[in-house]
Amino acid sequence: MNRNRSRKIKDLAMTSLFCLAAFMLVAVLAGVAAFLFKEGWQMLSLDFLTEAPSDGMTAGGIMTPLVGTIQLVIVSMAAALPIGIMTGLYFAEYSKDDWLARVLRVSIRCLAGVPSVIYGLFGLSLFVIFLNFGSSLLSAGLTLGCLSLPLIVTVSEQAFLAVPQDYRDASYALGATKCQTILKVVLPSAASTIITGTILSIGRVAGETAPIMFTGAAFFAPEVAKSVFDQVMALPYHIYVLATASTDLEATRPIQYGAILVLIGLVLGTSAIGVVARSRLAARSGRQ
């Protein structure tokens, strides 16, 4: 009897400990979020988003870095999406379990684990120097594209695998070829899931700093990049520069917190849209 009670007490103690750990974490996250918001919210205005940094980056807004980040996202997605989706398609529809598919799978898995600063070194040696693109939007965008490739491959493979086999069988039964089936049946059914995956990859790419530090991010650029061979300012690198190399830390303090808030909003907002859209899709297909 006594032993049973001590077991119950132990159970209760461990359960409370786990609950405590979970709620402590939530409390810490909420505290940090509240602190950042308190420090930066007065900066948030339309002017902050539409004005370029001025006076040696101690005044003005964050228009150029923000636009630069959007440009980087566009270039990286333009490079990574076609390749990533086709690789996902290959895994789901074409590959047999042969050595080539296995090598590809291991490669993608390895790419997913390569540290972001290594992508920076790779981009520097391949795009900037070897292919002579220079430190530019193109080099940085392609580097980020390589970084986002594994995520896109995984998401699109899952999207293709989630398309019910009946759809394919029905299409084949109507006399369609494999290519017609993929283009007209599989791809449209998987499209919405792939789009949510893309939104998630955009969230990942927009917040990366290390890969662009020496491939194309500018310390300061007077205006928005006009060609892919121009350097760009990027929001994450801009925050790094403001925090570490600013001429006047006190004056730029509100700008730093404002920029951090915008970056968090941009990245977590995008990711949250992706996560919610994905769970909606999963719920819908589950009900069918």
Binding site: R7, K8, K10, D11, M14, T15, L17, F18, C19, A21, A22, L25, V26, V32, P82, M86, T87, F91, E93, Y94, L100, V106, S107, I108, C110, L111, A112, G113, V114, P115, S116, V117, I118, G120, L121, F122, S125, C146, T177, K178, C179, Q180, I182, L200, R204, G207, E208, T209, A210, M213, P236, I239, Y240, A243, T244, L263, I264, L268, V275, S279
Partner: protein, 298 residues
Amino acid sequence: MKERQKKLISGFGGRGDRIISNLVRSVSMIGILIMLFILGFLVMNGMPVLKESSLSEIFLSRDWYPVEEPPALGMLPLIAGTLSATFLSSVIALPIAVALAIFTAEIAPRRLRNFFKVLMELMGFLPSIVLGFIGMMVLAPWLQHSLNIATGLNLLNASILLGFLVIPVVASLSEEALSAVPQELRDASYALGATRWETTRRVVVPHALSGITAAALLGVMRALGETMVVLMAAGGAAIIPTMLTDPVRPLTATIAAEMGETPVGSTHYHALFFAGLILLAVTLAINLASFYVERRKR
């Protein structure tokens, strides 16, 4: 007639099919190509440092003065920085992450469980520059005051923040592993009169152990390769740490801090690529180990 029709269809479809299939196949191989290029370019740019220096100097010397003449390229302090930050952050984050996974998978009611899953996933998307910034602007002054030390930018600061990057990785993957444990096992354990904690500890966790191990390895890998947090919050002194409050300069931070102002092709440049190569080799090994642990389970 039938034969001809069949030929016509397969001939028509066949060509289109073959073009698309070949296109998909060849484009997919770009993944392998990128991995090979990463390895190739790092080896090509990193190996020349051995002409100026030796493996024993790089791995055993404590002097990292890469811009002096002649340069001293001892990476021991950098490696010690990487290892100490990775170790400390794992010690901080892994228990919390596994506790969180157990809470989410075994204890939380459904709604709370969904909330925590989304929270973990979003936390995983938090840009590391944000954590580095918090380390510099918030945690460092606080540590400096409360511990009364010379600088708040140190090993402890960086490890705490790295923990925030490790927790979501490990927690969400461990949660998946725990959720994959069949409900029958839990029911059987409860039917024998076991409490929830006994069931979790003796039945559920052992069953999910390989998944949790793989998750922990990926978490360690995440800490090992992280750049911005250690660049901003670790203090940047190339010394071998003896205390929690010593500043450190991990490999990643060294590469990020020094690559920008290094002439292309110099010994220093090659040394930084060599540092990248060390890092890549270790992360690849951990990654493949976790891949193997996961696979063996299935």
